[in-house]
Subunit: 283 residues, 2 copies
């Protein structure tokens, strides 16, 4: 039985981060300050605390200053919007990351929209989404942006190929569908209401699984030779695709962990440094 | 040979316009002024002049005031943006329509983005697009919004069905794909780079043709019993679908003219009156 090649993200993410660190230092030399990412955390959900800390550590390694804003889990939408508006107007802040999910009393969309488009380095605003959809300048949602870089790096040209995206969240399924479409793939978006999902996946040259259900996509759903991107990350370090089954059928497969995951923060840092250059008019 | 049923837009568009006229009069009584649509035309392209005149006439019939801004075909992006910004800030204007296409020297996207989201009753801004994609309050692109109303009126529930959209323009293909996805269809977007388009169209329960090529979609591309929405309008009153062939295979087919076409302006007027109520706080 043949075995697929692995589409690894670790090395690529590291290379991207090294390039970001070089550009960050260049910015420092030219602008007299470091690029700055503001991280905003509401409450103290342990997973969110860990994610924010990882991002801060990665900022430090790339020579990016991080400014942290911690808000209590009783924060109202108005208070969070006010904090994000202040950061949007602060000339020393280049990028803003609102760690999500936010507590249930908060209108998450209203909070996202308080992030200035020019500082939306996490790609969560409506403006960023439309920019991805229309092929306009802007910041990608980080995981979709990472997926596109992973495909490029492994020589996968989406043009004319059929890409099936499973999942339709505003920061993963929908934006990755738009990015693939902008790169001339024929794109199908599937979700929980899709009928006969396996039959649709079987027509895909490129599958992006973003459902958040462990080993949901089975090997016999895949067209032999397909490219499989697993954007899931479930309990027990398991992705959304049955990995061993996919390896015996596909051409290229992202492992979990070590595939899509490492790309996300690297794209965030890359976009932060890009925002810094743009704000300083050093583009 | 069986024949499909016609999905006619004329009657529905007329009913919608009558409802809009009633709400417009109600607004007039309560607000002491009529709803107002600003139409902006750059240059004097005969087709554009005709379209704008049709919209003004339809406004009048619905009791909507229309204010026309005519700009020379030498207008710069900056001048057009300034005119649209002034209308966006004018408290007596409820909706803004920029007739497109605009002359080549103008950055059309920059012009669209000068329209305030709350007055974008033609659904052309990035904000409106993302609102359609995310199921948030906002104004639909008029033709896609008209297509959804046409489907609803004819009892076509997109949920769980496979919709294939042919075309990916920012005001037709992409937004109608997003509206169908928001209504739980499984959605495939096809375009000029799509390979084996007939095979993909054959899997569709709902086909939306928005390519602008006369009789491009052939009858033998259709799954028997499909719902066929022809959003094309080409020279000689011909749509994007080979009509007779579609009628002998599909279940429901929009004719051209008299299908999708009449819906577009009715949705524009409907959204203008809705904007008036919202601006006046009478929602």
């Amino acid at each position: 039985m043949t075995s697929a090649r692995l589409m690894l993200g670790n090395g690529l993410a590291k290379d991207l981060a090294a390039d970001t660190a070089r550009r960050s230092e260049d910015f420092h030399q030219r602008a007299g300050r470091r690029p700055c990412l503001a991280t905003v955390l509401v409450g103290d959900d342990p997973a969110s605390v860990t994610y924010v800390r990882m991002k801060q550590n990665r900022c430090r390694q790339a020579g990016i200053e991080s400014r942290h804003v911690a808000l209590p889990d009783t924060t109202s939408t108005e208070e969070l919007v006010a904090a994000l508006t202040a950061l949007s107007e602060d000339p020393e802040v280049d990028g803003i990351l609102l760690q999500h999910p936010v507590p249930a009393q908060i209108d998450e969309r209203a909070a996202f929209e308080a992030i200035a488009a020019g500082k939306d380095v996490d790609g969560v605003t409506m403006h960023s989404f439309a920019a991805m959809a229309f092929g306009l300048p802007g910041y990608d949602s980080c995981t979709p942006g990472g997926i596109m870089r992973l495909l490029d790096h492994h020589g996968v040209d989406p043009a004319g190929r059929h890409a099936v995206v499973i999942g339709r969240s505003p920061i993963l399924g929908k934006p990755v569908a738009m990015l693939l479409l902008a790169r001339d793939a024929t794109v199908t978006v599937c979700h929980s209401k899709t009928q006969d999902l396996p039959a649709i996946v079987r027509t895909a040259d490129i599958v992006v699984a973003a459902v958040g259900r462990p080993e949901f996509v089975r090997g016999d759903w895949l067209k032999p030779g397909a490219v499989v991107v697993d954007a899931g990350y479930n309990e027990g370090n398991v992705g959304d695709v049955a990995f061993d089954e996919a390896m015996s059928r596909a051409d290229l497969v992202t492992p979990v962990p070590g595939g899509v995951g490492p790309m996300t923060i690297s794209v965030l840092l890359d976009q932060t440094v890009r925002a810094a250059f743009e704000h300083a008019g050093l583009g």
